[in-house]
C-alpha cells in the first residue's frame, strides 16, 4: 500500500501542493499528467530522492517520509532504465541483494529466479550497451524487484519502446506485479497506457491530483 497525505514538493520553479492519493495493497495505480506537470517529482519524493516541504508518505502503513531511499521498501525503475554501463545483467540483478548483505548462494538463486521470470537467462553475461530497449527495461525491472520490495515505482517505463515491445512489456508488467502481489505506482502521460495497465488511475491537473 502507498498513501500520500497532503504532500507538498517543489519542482523547479513551481510547487505541487496538497497531493493526496492511496493505492491499496497489491493494486496497480497509474498517475497521469502532461509532460512537465510534476509527476516525476512526485515519484522522486515517494522514492526519497526529493525532499518534501510538507505532508507524509506511507508504505504498508509505515511513515517513510524521512527514511533513506534504500529503507523505504520501494523499487524504482527510471524512464530510460538508467542501467549501470559497466556491469553485466547478472550484476544488475545481484546488486541490491549484495548491498543488503545476502549470502552468495541466496543471491545466485534469486538472480536465476528473476532471470527466468523476466526472460533474461540468455543475457546474464551481457552489458547494457548490447541490449535492446525492451531488454534494458526488463533488466531495470529485475534490478528493482530483486529484494522483493512492497512497492514498485515506474517512471514512464514504456515510453521509449516500439509497438510490439510495448505490448510485450505491458503483459510482463501485469503478470510480474500480479504474481508478486506488489503495489505499483506507474506514471505516464498516455491515457491509453493507463487504461491498459492500471487498476486505479489518477490525474494531475493544475498542480493537484484527482482520482479518475
Amino acid at each position: 500500500m502507498v498513501r500520500i497525505e497532503n504532500l507538498t514538493v517543489r519542482a523547479g520553479e513551481f510547487e505541487i501542493t496538497d497531493v493526496n492519493f492511496e493505492i491499496p495493497e497489491g493494486k496497480y495505480g497509474v498517475l497521469m499528467g502532461k509532460t512537465g506537470c510534476g509527476k516525476t517529482t512526485i515519484l522522486e519524493a515517494v522514492c526519497g530522492l526529493k525532499n518534501v516541504t510538507g505532508g507524509k508518505i506511507f508504505v504498508s502503513d509505515r511513515d517513510v517520509t524521512n527514511e533513506l531511499p534504500g529503507r523505504r521498501g520501494i523499487g524504482f525503475v527510471p524512464q530510460d532504465g538508467s542501467l549501470f554501463t559497466t556491469k553485466t545483467v547478472r550484476k544488475h540483478l545481484a546488486f541490491s541483494p549484495k548491498v543488503r548483505g545476502w549470502k552468495s548462494d541466496a543471491i545466485a538463486k534469486r538472480v536465476d529466479e528473476l532471470a527466468a521470470e523476466l526472460g533474461l537467462t540468455d543475457l546474464l553475461d551481457r552489458k547494457p550497451h548490447g541490449l535492446s530497449g525492451g531488454e534494458r527495461q526488463r533488466v531495470a525491472l529485475g534490478r528493482a524487484l530483486a529484494v522483493k520490495p512492497a512497492v514498485l515505482c515506474l517512471d514512464e517505463p514504456l515510453s521509449a519502446l516500439d509497438e510490439d515491445t510495448h505490448a510485450e512489456m505491458v503483459e510482463l508488467l501485469k503478470r510480474v506485479t500480479a504474481e508478486n502481489g506488489i503495489t505499483v505506482l506507474h506514471i505516464t502521460h498516455s491515457r491509453r497506457e493507463a487504461e491498459l495497465v492500471g487498476d486505479l488511475q489518477f490525474r494531475i491537473e493544475d498542480g493537484r491530483v484527482i482520482g479518475v
Binding site: 530522492l49 534504500g70 530510460d80 559497466t86 553485466t88 546488486f95 553475461d125 552489458k127
Partner: protein, 284 residues
C-alpha cells in the same frame, strides 16, 4: 557524401592539417637537428654524444626524478580532483561560482607566478614570524629547493587540469544511476564508489594522464620554487633549460626528444590499456 559537402570537408580538413603539420614539423626539426649534431658516440671529450648524454649521472637522476615526481603529483592530483569534480558536478552551494573560478587560477596564471607565489607562501608566511618552511624544517621536513617543492609545483598546476576533466566527466554521467543505487540500498558514499567510480573510469584515466604529462612539461614553478639543482631538483624540463643556458643546444634537443617519447609512450599506453579494459558486450 554529396558533391556540395566536399568544399566544407576540404575546408575543415585543411585547417586541421595546418595545425597537425605544425606539430609534426616541430618534432621533425628537433629530430633532424638533434641526430645530425649528436653522434651515437664520440672520442672527443668536449663533443656531446648519445652515449655521453644517457650515461651522464645528472641526466639519469633527472630522468628518475621526473618519472617519480610526475607519478606522485598525478596520484595526488587524482586524489583531490575526483572528489572536487564530483562536488562541483553534483552539489550546489553558496559561493560555487567563486570556488569554480579559483580552481581555474593555476591554469590561467603565468607559470613563473605560480612558482613565485609558492616561494612566498612557504618562506614569507605567516608575515613577520616563523615561516611555514621554518616550522617544517624544525620537524625535519624541507620543502623549498627540495624534491617536495618539485612535486608541489607540478601538483599545483596539474591538479587544476584534472579537476576540470573530472568535473566534465561527472557532468556527463546521469545522476539517475546513483539515485537508483540509493533506492537499491546504497548510501551516497557506496553509490559513489560502486556505481559512479566504475562509470567514470575513462575520465579518471584521462585526468591522471593529463596530470602526469602536464607535470612533466612543467618548468616555470619548478625553476622558482625548487630550483634546478643537478642531482637534487633537476627534472627533464630543467635539464633542457640548463643545457640551453650553457649553450649546449644539441643536448637540450636530445633531452627534449626523450621527453616527447616518454609523453607519447604514456599517452598511447594509457589509451591502449583503457581500450583493453573497456571490454566488449560481455563480462565486467
Amino acid at each position: 557524401m554529396s558533391k556540395s559537402d566536399k568544399p566544407f570537408l576540404a575546408a575543415i580538413s585543411s585547417l586541421a592539417a595546418i595545425y597537425l603539420l605544425l606539430i609534426v614539423l616541430m618534432l621533425v626539426a628537433d629530430a633532424i637537428y638533434g641526430f645530425r649534431a649528436v653522434p651515437f658516440s664520440s672520442d672527443d671529450p668536449d663533443k656531446a654524444s648519445l652515449v655521453k648524454i644517457f650515461t651522464d649521472k645528472a641526466v639519469i637522476n633527472s630522468i628518475k626524478l621526473t618519472l617519480f615526481s610526475c607519478t606522485v603529483s598525478a596520484i595526488l592530483s587524482l586524489i583531490v580532483a575526483v572528489p572536487t569534480g564530483y562536488l562541483l558536478s553534483r552539489y550546489n552551494f553558496p559561493g560555487k561560482l567563486l570556488v569554480d573560478a579559483i580552481l581555474d587560477i593555476p591554469i590561467v596564471l603565468p607559470p613563473l607566478v605560480v612558482g613565485l607565489s609558492l616561494l612566498l607562501l612557504f618562506n614569507k608566511m605567516p608575515p613577520g614570524g616563523t615561516s611555514f618552511e621554518d616550522m617544517l624544517n624544525s620537524l625535519g621536513i624541507e620543502i623549498t629547493f627540495n624534491v617536495a617543492a618539485v612535486i608541489i609545483a607540478q601538483f599545483s598546476v596539474a591538479c587544476a587540469f584534472s579537476v576540470r576533466t573530472m568535473r566534465n566527466t561527472f557532468d556527463q554521467i546521469s545522476p539517475r544511476t546513483e539515485q537508483v543505487a540509493q533506492t537499491l540500498g546504497c548510501s551516497r558514499a557506496r553509490a559513489f564508489f560502486s556505481v559512479v567510480i566504475p562509470e567514470s573510469w575513462r575520465g579518471i584515466s584521462t585526468a591522471g594522464t593529463l596530470a602526469w604529462t602536464r607535470s612533466m612539461g612543467e618548468f616555470g614553478p619548478i625553476l622558482v620554487f625548487a630550483g634546478t639543482i643537478p642531482n637534487k631538483t633537476e627534472v627533464l624540463s630543467s635539464t633542457v633549460f640548463l643545457e640551453i643556458t650553457t649553450g649546449s643546444l644539441e643536448t637540450a634537443v636530445i633531452v627534449s626528444l626523450m621527453m616527447v617519447t616518454i609523453a607519447v609512450v604514456v599517452l598511447v599506453g594509457v589509451r591502449m590499456w583503457d581500450r583493453k579494459n573497456e571490454g566488449g558486450l560481455y563480462h565486467g
